[in-house]
């Protein structure tokens, strides 16, 4: 078990955004987190990545209790993420964007940096090499020296993934990666997600509204509504789950028969 949320609560003033959420992600899974708008999905991501501290409950990752850890510590521990509203370093090049995330891989000390020692030069080379490998893998190598802010939308989303992969994460959280994509792009995204898991051995957790992507690529799906878990299971079960349908379509729950 790679990631577990154990009875996690998050409250903002009067809003109980996440209520007793209990979920588990196994290593090697492609896991989906869905729910209507405002259900708390991104808040859950933010709790996992340390942006918010859980008010109650624990977050366990790779055998460690990471509740309350800082985002930088959690990233170093092996959790990478992308953001719902793309957060690239806009006036830096694509290559620089990816290299920034490389601290965990190679890091030169301050003195070495100031003196431009051989080890620091080696460090830079290694970072650049790895960054280019990742850019290539995501089809962005030709944009390496372009400003991140000037890239087309789809490329920006892929760059965010490349950047997160630079952390060599065990777990990758993708926040609405299919937003704004047409169906062809969405199919490519599905292939990329499978490739991430199959080739790079990264466990993927996906928050997504595009149901065809979710149903096609996720092996297990966790549904939340108003901060609470309402279902958890394989796509086949979720598709027909009465509570899920009610949450999305706003109907009254059918009687249990």
């Amino acid at each position: 078990m790679l990631l577990e949320l154990d009875q996690v609560h998050k409250i903002f003033g009067g809003l109980h955004a996440v209520k007793a959420v209990q979920l588990r992600v196994e290593a090697g899974e492609i896991f989906g987190l869905i729910g209507p708008n405002g259900a708390g999905k991104t808040t859950i991501f933010n709790v996992v990545t340390g942006v918010y501290r859980p008010d109650q409950g624990r977050v366990l990752f790779d055998g460690k209790d990471i509740s309350g850890w800082s985002p930088a510590q959690i990233a170093s521990a092996g959790i990478g993420r992308t953001f719902q509203n793309i957060r690239l370093f806009r006036s830096m090049t694509a290559e620089q964007n990816v290299m920034v995330a490389g601290r965990r891989l190679h890091s030169a000390g301050l003195l070495a940096t100031i003196l431009r020692t051989a080890s620091q030069a080696e460090c830079e080379r290694a970072l650049r090499r790895r960054a280019h490998e990742l850019l290539e893998a995501l089809g962005l190598r030709s944009h390496a020296n372009d400003m991140a802010g000037s890239l087309p939308y789809g490329s920006q989303r892929r760059l965010e993934i490349a950047r997160a992969l630079m952390l060599s994460p065990k777990l990758l959280l993708l926040d609405e990666p299919a937003a704004g994509m047409n169906s062809q792009e969405a199919r490519e995204l599905e292939a990329q997600i499978r490739w991430l898991r199959d080739e790079l051995k990264v466990t993927v957790v996906l928050v997504e509204h595009n149901m065809s992507v979710v149903m096609s690529v996720c092996e297990r799906i966790h549904v939340v509504d108003h901060g609470e878990t309402i279902a958890d299971g394989p796509p086949s079960a979720i598709k027909t789950h009465p509570k899920v349908l009610a949450a999305y379509l706003g109907q009254e729950e059918p009687d249990e028969s």
Partner: protein
Amino acid sequence: MSDAGPGLAAPPPPIPPLPDPPARPRWGLRALVALGMIGGLALLRLGLEAVLIEYAQRIMMLAGINVILAVSLNLINGTTGQFSIGHAGFMAIGAYAAAFLGTHLAPAAAALFGSGMLADAVTFNLALVFGALLAGLSGLCVGLPSLRLRGDYLAIVTLGFGEIIRISFNNAQFLGAATGYFGDSPAGLPAYTNLFWVLLWVVIVIIVTWNITFSQTGRSLAAIREDEIAAEAMATPTTRLKVLAFSFSAAGAGIAGGLFAHMQAGIRPEDFKFDKSIDMIVMIIVGGLGSVSGAAFGGVFVAVSLELMRDLHEYRLVLYALLLIVIMLVRPEGILGTRELPSIVRGLWQRAGARGASSGGAER
């Protein structure tokens, strides 16, 4: 047709290979270059002193001090995007610390090295480094608690600290309070500062800042400026780096302060008012926030233009203020923007080459 993911569409077009790995730095060669440069600067100083009148020399030294101030401030304001507007306080700390230590070290140095250039050099540089260390430490003390504040608030806190530092010096009797600190001798502080030392320290500060800026550390600082939350999510230790940048920039201001102190007979808290902090900001804004070359340019610009406007004495500051407003309205990114001199020169060179080439290639 989008650049598809792995194994889906045609393979991407061939891309030029990565540049050759840089040559490994050889320390023997570096030492030689350093010595050569020091020698060159010494010759340069003698040459300038022979050619320029004292007034012009003084302007040059002030310009050099400004460059140190601007390049240092740029590290935290420009590269890291954390706005500090009280940096005059750190300059003051450097100035007073250097003056104080210099005054007290001089007799010991004279005893060890006799009274001559060597003693002076040792005393002066020890004093400067001491000033820088103290200023850097103050930067740490100011930065550590303040750097979790959002932009405007940080600016105000740094302003407040700058004022507190000035008021403290104003009330510090052992440092002369409002009248100023003139060292021990009746002639005032020894005039250690000359073109050689100024130029040498300018070179040192620029090299250190350049090396930090163009490295993983510098990239991380820029990432903090661009999007701190995303930077954190990419394992960047934001607090540690912000404090580091802040301390370094404070230390740089400290060096400038020490150099400034030993150009005058004495220093007073008046010399380090908020106006001085504004000067520093104008330097980096004019040159281009985030550019090391731009900061250097801005430093020279401010020193020179303030002197040129000296005749218009009363109108000087009004014009200065108008300049600031106009730049913000018309070209807020400053003269160089975030670009650096080498890349600009390269660009001009390429364009000149392209125009001359018969094939007329427009590729940059």
